[in-house]
């Protein structure tokens, strides 16, 4: 558990820009959470642009820690406290454990580099949270737990954070968003209009929450605060002013006053997506007003205070095209929920970019293959995607994964997840190389011309057994059973 470092250590901002390219806002960067407390960079860095792997109840879906450290290159993970608390946050098992969250969930350094502590992004809510039906208050945020909807006191959040964090933890400020009744805004109103009162409350409440987070923690860990979605930059000016001006007053030291904010987080106003049928989701909100949204906010047009800090995009990306678009608009980190969703759909990514893609001149291809097409892959002993060197592709083949899916064996999703995360890692790495060589604009255009954004000739299949959090809670009580019975009684009687 990290505490404020001695005054002799001069804090460094966590984020550093390494390279920018003309004609684009995309940039190459390095994010080092422990630089804040140590005053110098460490080995536990996140090169950007990159993605954060979301965890579910503390685990990378389908991957045990031994497989993770051997076969998955994890740049960062996203951990939400609503996965760990039930009725009483401070009495929850994780709170009583006397351990950091890293220790509790057994997040291990990679085998190849035991000193590398994988950065953890800590937040009250999941990266794609289930919409709640209860409003927040000035002191509490509404969350979804095992026991149902709860109100988490903001003070409890801060108490928990101080117990659970270490120096490689990144803290997300709690975000107050208005309650939404429907998951999708009505067709005739692309943006559900937030009433004036609620706008005012949103601005003041987020100011309260973000400034508290910054004041409590900015001396020890990087803090990420939200850009308020659904309202214009003008409307949230007082908020932006406040957060940009919080200084680490404890650390002013011979002129080294450091601005407390280390990152800004942009997310959707409307309910972040849990795809209902595991299919890729069509995005496209028509922007009528100049409201901020993760899909449209362009950091080229925002106050310059946001230039040299980390920009995180927590909205649900539907695929690599969205990710490229986010990077083009100046985001440094995106969240990886779309990877797990793709895995759960039984789809293996086969896309590549720039240097590491298999070129099929002229034709557009799909970004992946669905291993549910059992007849097609039944005896196909080739790797999930050509030239891939992940554990799955080096040791197994399409026929096996197709068989496992058809047999509903859990190993199917483990093997797919390892492969899909690896593919996205290669993708991000190639993008970083391209920015470094001033080639990002070209490779982005080339990628778009090569791949369809959504799977065309492919039918993703059903996912693993749905349990717990994967069930959409608010307002979707259907009579339909979510898990098919795996075995039916087979009777001879007529």
């Amino acid at each position: 558990m990290a505490s404020a470092p001695p005054p002799s250590v001069v804090p460094l901002p966590a984020f550093r820009i390494l390279h920018t390219q003309a004609h684009t806002v995309a940039r190459l960067g390095l994010f080092s959470p422990s630089a804040v407390s140590r005053g110098k960079p460490s080995v536990s860095v996140i090169p950007t642009p990159n993605f954060i792997l979301p965890t579910s109840r503390g685990t990378i879906p389908h991957i045990t820690p031994d497989n993770a450290r051997k076969h998955v290159d994890v740049s960062a993970v996203f951990v939400s406290l609503e996965d760990f608390v039930d009725k009483n946050a401070l009495k929850s098992p994780v709170a009583q454990s006397n351990r950091t969250i890293r220790d509790y969930i057994s997040l291990l350094p990679p085998l190849s580099d035991p000193d590398h502590q994988i950065p953890i992004f800590l937040s009250p809510r999941r990266s794609c949270p289930v919409p709640t039906s209860q409003p927040n208050s000035d002191n509490t945020i509404s969350i979804v737990t095992n026991d149902g909807f709860r109100q988490l006191p903001i003070s409890d959040y801060f108490t928990l954070i101080s117990q659970l964090k270490d120096e490689d933890t990144v803290i997300l400020a709690p975000v107050d968003l208005p309650l939404l009744i429907s998951a999708k805004p009505p067709a005739n109103k692309p943006w559900k209009h937030i009433g004036g009162n609620r706008v005012r409350k949103m601005v003041t409440r987020n100011e309260l929450w973000s400034v508290s987070t910054l004041k409590k923690l900015a001396g020890q860990n990087p803090v990420i605060v939200p850009l308020l979605p659904g309202i214009s930059v003008a409307e949230q000016a007082p908020y932006l002013d406040s957060i940009l001006n919080v200084e680490e007053s404890t650390r002013v030291n011979g002129g080294h006053a450091r601005r407390g904010i280390d990152g800004i987080n942009v997310q959707e106003l409307s309910s972040p997506f849990i795809p209902e049928s595991y299919e890729p989701v069509e995005n496209g909100y028509d922007q009528q007003q100049q409201t901020t949204s993760s899909r449209t906010v362009d950091f080229g047009h925002l106050p310059s205070g946001f230039n040299d800090i980390l920009r995180l995009n927590l909205a649900y990306q539907s695929g690599p095209h969205d990710v490229i678009a986010a990077i083009e608009r100046g985001h440094d980190l995106v969240c990886g929920d779309w990877i797990t969703a793709t895995t759960d759909a039984g789809v293996a990514f086969t896309f590549g970019i720039a240097g590491n893609s298999v070129s099929t001149i002229g034709e557009k291809s799909d970004i992946g293959i669905s291993l549910w097409e059992t007849e097609l892959y039944a005896a196909d002993l080739t790797a999930l995607s050509e030239e891939c060197e992940c554990y799955t592709c080096k040791n197994h083949h399409r026929a096996y994964v197709a068989h496992l899916l058809a047999a509903k064996e859990m190993l199917a999703w483990t093997l797919l997840q390892i492969h899909n995360i690896h593919t996205v890692n290669r993708f991000m790495s190639a993008i970083r190389d391209a920015i470094k060589q001033d080639k990002f604009i070209e490779i982005a255009a080339e990628f778009r011309s090569k791949y369809f954004p959504h799977m065309q000739g492919v039918t993703p299949g059903g996912g693993p057994r749905v349990r717990g959090y994967q069930v959409k809670l608010a307002g979707s009580v259907t009579g339909k059973k979510l898990n098919e019975s795996p075995f039916q009684n087979f009777s001879n009687d007529d």
């Binding site: 389908h62 098992p93 026929a399 068989h403 058809a406 190993l411 959090y469």
Partner: protein, 423 residues
């Protein structure tokens, strides 16, 4: 007149007893199969559909597993014989380079399908896909197992519930002998696939005797004792193992009648106590879905008993699943393990697939390790003490809790659990 029957002329297995317990009938042996050496006593985890419930073959290898079981019935449905032929067998399908044992498919027929009728030809049933009538014959079962390419294949036997009485039991036993002959004739690959016979006969010792004698004459590479694990009460299980009068014990009886230079396999037995008692009676290999299945329900098998980690009391238990266990999840992080706590398993059990995988790793390790330790004890000729220790730990030192069937079974091989516990 002597009946003429086919004899097995080739064997793809070598079996060598390297140590014999001087008190009981337990033995430690080396069994070499086409895909490597298997040291017995040995437990085989069950990878029903060519996958051990979420574990990669690499994880299974690292637990020290040398042989696992695949189910012919399931693989015959998915991916099916044609795909298996195209790929070149189950080893290639699941990228498992060690040994595989397949059962005949007969047991699943009878237990999974609502209506399966047994005739001399084979087992008649309705396809679970589309209801068309199908027939599983000894020839067809062996053909499927040939396509799977497993190292040990099992004959199709006529299985009856252990507690069945009456003429059906004898009919099943005799038919099993006839089906064994058909299986031997049908095996295309005796040079790389070892066909095991399965002794039937219910609880009737005379029938068991006849079956043992007849099947031994066929000289198969190995022998299994079947019809014993359909959930019958332990007392009956051990009646087949051992009757109250020591001379009339059944598995004991069988193991006395069977050749000692061949591996003996009891199918479907996987509780720790059952395995250890069976080892004392002379059994070499076991299989069971129990450890992997119970892991998915949040149950951890430990030396002190089975813990249901979904119980609320484990929510704040920050110790390892089993203190001192050397499996990948219990080994502390400082020693290169994952250091998973009971609290974390409680947090994940039945909610995240990786939670099930973690407990599966522990439970499979437990079973394999138990057999490894039994083997070492036999080699050091300290097996009786090992068994006594095991029961003591399991029952908290209270010998009144030792199950009666176990005490009596062990007595027939000169291990007196009660006497030793008093020391």
């Amino acid at each position: 007149m002597q009946a003429v029957f086919p004899q097995v002329t080739k064997s793809a297995l070598t079996y060598e007893v390297i140590a014999q317990c001087s008190t009981s009938k337990a033995r430690a042996s080396n069994m070499t199969l086409p895909h490597g050496l298997v040291e017995t006593p040995m437990f085989m985890p069950v990878a029903t559909q060519a996958s051990l419930k979420g574990l990669t073959p690499e994880q299974l290898e690292e637990l020290g597993c040398k042989i696992c079981l695949n189910n012919t019935y399931h693989l015959g449905l998915k991916p099916g014989k044609d795909v298996l032929d195209a790929i070149g067998g189950a080893h290639k399908l699941q990228s498992w380079s060690r040994n595989i044992l397949t059962d005949s498919g007969g047991f699943q027929m009878v237990s999974l399908l609502k209506l399966a009728t047994i005739t001399e030809e084979g087992v008649r049933f309705l396809s679970p896909h589309d209801g068309t009538p199908m027939l599983l014959t000894p020839e067809h079962s062996i053909e499927l197992q040939n396509s799977i390419g497993s190292d040990i294949i099992m004959q199709l036997d006529d299985v009856v519930h252990t507690l069945t009485t009456g003429p059906r039991v004898e009919e099943a036993m005799r038919r099993s002998i006839r089906w064994l002959d058909r299986c031997i004739a049908a095996n295309k690959n005796p040079d790389r696939q070892n066909l095991f016979a399965i002794i039937q006969g219910g609880l009737d010792l005379d029938l068991r005797r006849t079956c043992c004698i007849e099947m031994s004459k066929r000289d198969t590479p190995g022998i299994a004792i079947g019809g014993l694990s359909g959930g019958e009460a332990k007392e009956q299980f051990c009646e087949v193992h051992v009757l109250i009068i020591p001379d009339n014990s059944s598995v004991n009886y069988c193991t006395d009648l069977l050749p000692r230079n061949k591996p003996i396999y009891v199918m479907g037995v996987g509780y720790a106590e059952d395995m250890l008692v069976s080892v004392a009676l002379g059994v070499d290999i076991f299989d069971c879905v129990y450890p992997t299945r119970t892991a998915r329900f949040g149950n951890a098998i430990t030396a002190k008993g089975v813990l249901n980690l979904r119980n609320k009391c484990f929510a704040t238990d920050y110790g390892p699943v089993e203190q001192g266990c050397t499996c990948p999840i219990c080994t502390p992080k400082a020693n290169g393990g994952m250091g998973i706590t009971r609290s974390l398993i409680h947090h994940l059990a039945a909610k995240e697939t990786s939670g099930a995988h973690m407990l599966t790793l522990h439970n499979v390790h437990y079973q394999l390790n138990l057999m490894r330790e039994a083997r070492q004890a036999i080699i050091r000729d300290e097996f009786p003490a090992f068994v006594k220790n095991f029961f003591c730990t399991l029952h908290g030192g209270d010998k009144k809790k030792f199950p009666k069937w176990a005490v009596e079974a062990l007595r027939t091989v000169n291990i007196d659990l009660l006497a030793m516990a008093e020391e």
